[in-house]
Symmetry: C2
Subunit: 187 residues, 2 copies
């Protein structure tokens, strides 16, 4: 989508939300995708779940209500950025369908594309990876409310893309993400 | 700063924070400036104080700590947008110097320009205008903690620009804002 006169490419902004369990691979895919998109001249912002929580929701906990509020805040920021031509990648658990629907609605109200991607990694695989040691803590009784274990995860019923990561390499998953963006006019 | 080949203009993003008392004229100036900048091809985002509070800080009140948290959140969002080439206008009271300094530091850490503008309207004039009826409510005893009346306002000691709005027309104030942006390479 480079300008015919050779000027800088102007891309349509949009939000790609990567929802899934802790250690599902959301951040790995977001960072890999971000790198490719930047190389093609996209403005890209990865909204890291932990950083956003610290910046916008430090006082919130992990009740359903607080998780919902946090997801809506991330969604609000994503929508603002996407409306200015940024490709926003949000690797954020977002366990509740109602929260994700609210973020989708917010984007629709702004006229900004929103794509929901389910990073569908089984809880067994996630617990094996355990990037942040959360599954081990939960098993040891040092943590309660771990999404997918003793806290709900409502898997998307009809996501824009579902990545069965246990059957795909990271590279293949990123290729599918790029294909989705191209299909929707975002890449 | 239009591209030599006639492609779309690419502007340096940055944040212009308009601090001042309620009814000082912050939003009027931000909206007026936004209109001019958009006409010149800038991507502009006005971060309205009330909207941002609802979106990011609904649970916060108006204590010093809560006001500080809210201002830092708005600053975080402003920094994200400005880093992607957006000219962000934040007509937000931001009564405490320490909060404004934190926002300035956050922008410096991102390498993004930050300009502090003091919309210096006297409390008497603000109370006369009373756009939202807050001064009347406070006088009637129905509201406590009104900035500049019974809650602190720490006027900037060394702002990038101070607008003595009672001696200037709105048009003149906007011209001074534009001159500041041009001087700093933002317009």
């Amino acid at each position: 989508m480079t300008e015919p006169n050779g000027g800088p490419a102007v891309w349509q902004g949009g939000t790609v939300w990567l929802t899934g369990l802790p250690s599902a691979g959301k951040t790995t895919l977001a960072l890999g995708l971000a790198e490719r998109l930047r190389a093609d001249g996209h403005r890209v912002q990865v909204l890291d779940g932990d950083e956003l929580r610290a910046a916008l929701s430090a006082e919130l906990g992990f009740s359903k209500e607080d998780r919902d509020t946090n997801v809506r805040r991330v969604g609000y920021v994503a929508g603002l950025l996407a409306a200015h031509g940024v490709t926003v990648l949000a690797p954020v658990i977002a366990p509740y369908a109602v929260s994700r629907a609210a973020v989708r609605d917010l984007h629709a109200a702004r006229g900004v594309p929103y794509l929901e991607v389910h990073v569908a990694t089984s809880v067994e695989t996630c617990a094996d990876r355990d990037v942040k040691g959360l599954y081990a803590k939960q098993a040891a009784g040092d943590l309660r409310g771990l999404t997918g274990v003793d806290d709900p995860y409502e898997a998307p019923v009809d996501p824009d893309l579902r990545l069965a990561t246990e059957e795909l390499t990271v590279e293949e998953s990123i290729q599918r993400l790029r294909a989705l963006l191209t299909e929707r006019g975002l890449s």
